[in-house]
């Protein structure tokens, strides 16, 4: 027997109501028909047919909904009472959110009641997770942050505020409570009520985590572990500084331009200990002794190895001296929270110093010809001199419109040293009298220039010199190497002296270029003399031409003459 389309729709509604155990919507019917394989019922005729059936009174609208994803009317067949079929039906997305919130809140209050505590507010994330778990991902509208918007809408006074927002938008994620709840009926457990409290909590957590005063950066890092305390943007840094005026947060000290903050009580003595500890730790890290020792051991020139070891020893001793002085102070209290760290750092540095000293003692070098102390004086240039030096060679420096820009271009490739004569311009001096804050190392400058513009030979020698010398700038350690029997020592020393550009050593290089037994050394000595802009270049070349027989040196002279002594960089 053939069943009419109308009859099929009626039976579809009936069976769908039984299947879903609630009043059904148009989309429910479509889905149900699809699941039964009755695809012909899913088309647009279904809605028309439903409307006719409602008009006829065969089915009726049990509940009216809004026109969104959750909207649409809920239908029931005539004769079925709405009781038990229309309760708890979300009418819209707003309804879903509100229902979910209500359920969370009921759970929370009952749980709090059982534990005899006050309930905590609900966060947006919690509502979102609840909806996701209950209704699935497909429930979510395509809009951006639908849960937050819906919750926000529920807070609006018109038509009626059913929720209350506890924090402002600028403070990360919001917390919500029912509007009817009074401030005494909930508790902000671990959650801040306002900006000030958030910052206080954050600093407190960071200090607890690091067990010492913390920087703004460290506070930000800590915030990542506490999402409800997350601060938006960079503006909070200003707030942090403001907080130090009124709250328990203290601005302890600035170490290398970075401020440290502390939460709670800290004595002046502890602050002193902390500053010393941080400074010493920083210097200790900068020394990077393990790596430096490895590099020193790879060097070829024994006296330079000795010099570099001596320099390292002096640096470590200086650091140790400050720590020792502090520990020996009368008011040094071993119970303060940083004293143990200072003592352990002291012991660590002392162990390394002993290791360096032992290695120095065991070194097989002729000490009589070597200085026993490092000459700390370096050939330093200010940024104007650096710019003038580099301008003829580097276009990027030529085009730079300021000396500060030149320093930026160079980056860290030329080591800068703090000028101890520097006084800030606001410290009572006029701008004209100020001395530069940083000075640049000339040896680094020359090797940097060689690597930037030099020919292959120049670059190769610059790399050799850089690797050999490291931080050592005392030419006295190179002189004994010029008389060494090993050609590599003479060669290495010549190269290093060339890049030091120290006029004192020109004479030695001149002699080496003429009389060394190794042709390679003679060639490099000639290069070095020209590179150092010796005042007797023409005379030296003429003399070499007279007595030299080795083809390599003679070829090199030809090359110099072709290219010109002023272009020695480009060989």
């Amino acid at each position: 027997m053939q069943i009419s389309h109308r009859q099929r729709i009626i039976s579809l509604v009936e069976s769908a109501v039984i299947f879903y155990d609630r009043a059904v919507k148009l989309i429910d019917l479509q889905e149900y028909a699809r699941s039964l394989g009755q695809m012909d019922l899913c088309d647009e005729r279904l809605s028309t047919c439903l409307a006719r059936l409602v008009h006829n009174g065969t089915i009726y609208i049990a509940k009216q909904g809004r026109k969104d994803k959750f909207g649409g009317n809920f239908y029931l067949p005539t004769g079925v009472a709405p009781e038990g079929y229309v309760e708890n039906l979300p009418l819209s997305w707003l309804d879903v959110v509100w229902q979910s919130f209500e359920e969370i809140w009921v759970n929370r209050t009952s749980q709090a009641l059982a534990e005899d505590i006050l309930p905590t507010p609900v966060s947006t994330d919690e509502v979102e997770a609840y909806i996701l778990g209950k209704f699935g991902k497909e429930t979510f509208p395509q809009d951006e942050s639908p849960v937050a918007y819906a919750l926000g809408y529920l807070c609006k006074p018109k038509p009626k505020a059913v929720l209350k927002k506890l924090r402002r938008d600028t403070y990360g994620r919001c917390l919500w409570i029912p509007a009817s709840i009074s401030p005494n009926d909930y508790e902000l457990k671990g959650r801040a009520k306002n900006k000030s409290e958030t910052i206080n909590l954050l600093v407190q957590k960071a200090v607890e985590h690091f067990r010492r005063p913390v920087t703004a950066d460290e506070i930000s890092k800590t915030a990542k572990f506490f999402p409800h305390l997350k601060m938006n943007g960079q503006m909070w840094l200003n707030d942090l500084v403001n907080e130090t005026k009124f709250s328990p947060i203290k601005q302890i000290a600035a170490i290398k331009g970075e401020w440290y903050y502390f939460f709670g009580e800290i004595s002046e003595e502890e602050i002193q200990s902390f500053v010393l500890l941080r400074n010493s730790e920083r210097q200790w890290l900068e020394l990077n002794t393990n790596e430096t020792l490895k590099l020193i051991r790879l060097c070829k020139l024994p006296s330079v190895i000795f010099g570099r070891m001596l320099l390292l020893k002096e640096n470590i001793s200086r650091l140790l001296f400050d720590l020792k002085n502090f520990c020996d102070m009368e008011n040094f209290n071993e119970t303060n929270r940083f004293s143990q760290e200072i003592i352990s750092l002291f012991k660590e540095i002392k162990t390394v110093l002993l290791e360096v000293e032992t290695e120095l003692d065991e070194m097989a070098v002729e000490r009589s010809s070597l200085p026993c102390k490092i000459n700390g004086q370096r050939n330093l240039l200010n940024s104007t001199e650096i710019t003038n030096y580099l301008k003829p060679f580097l276009t990027k420096v030529k085009e730079a419109n300021s000396e500060a820009r030149t320093a930026d271009l160079i980056g860290r490739q030329i080591k800068k040293h703090f000028n101890h004569q520097y006084k800030p311009i606001f410290a009572g001096n006029s701008k004209e009298n100020t001395v530069p804050r940083y000075l640049f190392d000339k040896f680094d400058l020359v090797t940097y220039t060689a690597q930037q513009i030099g020919g292959n030979l120049c670059r190769a020698l610059a790399i050799m010199a850089q690797s050999e010398m490291g931080e050592l700038r005392d030419g006295r350690f190179l002189l004994p190497m010029l008389e060494s029997e090993n050609y590599e020592h003479r060669l290495g020393a010549t190269v290093c002296l060339a890049f030091m550009q120290n006029l004192e050593y020109k004479k030695h290089i001149y002699e080496l270029a003429l009389f060394d037994e190794d042709a390679g050394v003679r060639k490099i000595a000639l290069w070095a003399y020209v590179f150092m802009q010796g005042n007797r270049i023409a005379e030296l070349i003429a003399k070499i031409k007279e007595c030299e027989t080795h083809h390599q040196v003679l070829e090199f002279i030809t090359k110099i003459e072709e290219i010109g002594v002023e272009n020695i960089w480009f060989i």
């Binding site: 590099l295 060097c299 490739q413 670059r459 020698l461 850089q466 690797s467 042709a519």
Partner: protein
């Protein structure tokens, strides 16, 4: 009397094979060749390379325009990364010295090669022996070959001698760019009976009067040759063991039985050690034995 063994200077016996390999390597040097030295372990590849390196450097004279220096070094395993650059840096470290990390990172491979060649020119280095080259990945070898190519372009002769076993030959022929540049393959063979006799007579004076015409002496030499398969690196320690017992236990006389006894002694201990190790040797006395001792 001191407990310590007397310090001895290393004695290198130059065998015919060694001489041949040296001469073949030097023969193709002027072509800026890649030379491969392969062969089983302990056949004298490293000794030959060190000896040739030593001679080249000892005989170097600045006055001789043909003279050059050489470098011998052993490579280790290389971690992944820019292997071409790592190969060049390995050569740089061995020949010139350390290179700063920053420079290494910022400089492209071809520039590093140019810098290295220039430094080699300064030091007059024209030959590099790269031992245990089997450890090197193919890309690292390519980096080294790049240095050689750059050297040729910069009018500098540079021979690279790759020494190794493992899969070195297979690895090298995998890339035609490398394969076709190898101008000499030196295969180290085990020594013959005659060569074994020569080696023994040079290393231990006792054997200096030995002749293969004498039946008893021939048996002894053949025994040593057979047992060690003509491997020089294994014969030398055997000789050391023999020398230790020659005066103490053998009364200054060696015969086949004595040689066999020394070698069997060595083999017995070796087998026992290996079988114990395979059986999970723990160093504890077995329970059964302890019980036996207790009941005794």
């Amino acid at each position: 009397m001191s407990i310590y063994p007397k310090t001895e200077t290393e004695k290198i016996v130059e065998t015919v094979q060694m001489r041949r390999m040296m001469s073949r390597t030097l023969g193709v040097h002027n072509l800026s060749s890649l030379v491969v030295w392969v062969g089983r372990s302990r056949l004298g590849k490293t000794t030959t390379a060190r000896e040739l390196n030593k001679r080249l450097n000892e005989e170097f004279s600045s006055d001789n325009p043909d003279a050059f220096r050489s470098i011998y070094y052993q490579v280790g395993n290389m971690e992944p990364g820019n292997l071409q650059k790592k190969g060049i840096r390995s050569l740089y470290h061995a020949c010139i010295g350390p290179m700063e990390e920053l420079i290494y990172r910022r400089t492209p491979a071809e520039d590093l090669a140019k810098i290295l060649v220039e430094a080699l020119k300064v030091k007059n280095i024209k030959m590099v022996f790269i031992d245990e080259a089997g450890n090197l990945p193919l890309e690292a070898i390519r980096g080294m070959v790049l240095v050689r190519d750059v050297a040729v372009a910069m009018n500098w002769t540079l021979s690279l001698v790759f020494i190794g076993m493992d899969d070195l030959p297979v690895k090298l022929i995998r890339l035609p760019q490398i394969h076709n540049r190898i101008n000499e393959w030196c295969y180290f063979k085990p020594y013959s009976v005659e060569e074994t006799l020569f080696l023994l007579s040079e290393l231990e004076p006792y054997f200096s009067n030995y002749s293969l015409d004498n039946q008893a002496q021939r048996e002894q030499i053949e025994f040593i040759h057979e047992q060690f398969d003509g491997t020089a690196g294994l014969i030398v320690p055997f000789l050391r063991r023999l020398k230790n017992r020659l005066h103490n236990e053998l009364g200054g006389v060696i015969d086949l039985a004595a040689l066999m006894s020394i070698h069997l002694n060595f083999l017995r201990d070796k087998d026992a050690a290996i079988s114990d190790s395979k059986g999970g040797y723990t160093g504890k006395v077995k329970e059964k034995k302890t019980k036996e001792l207790l009941t005794r």
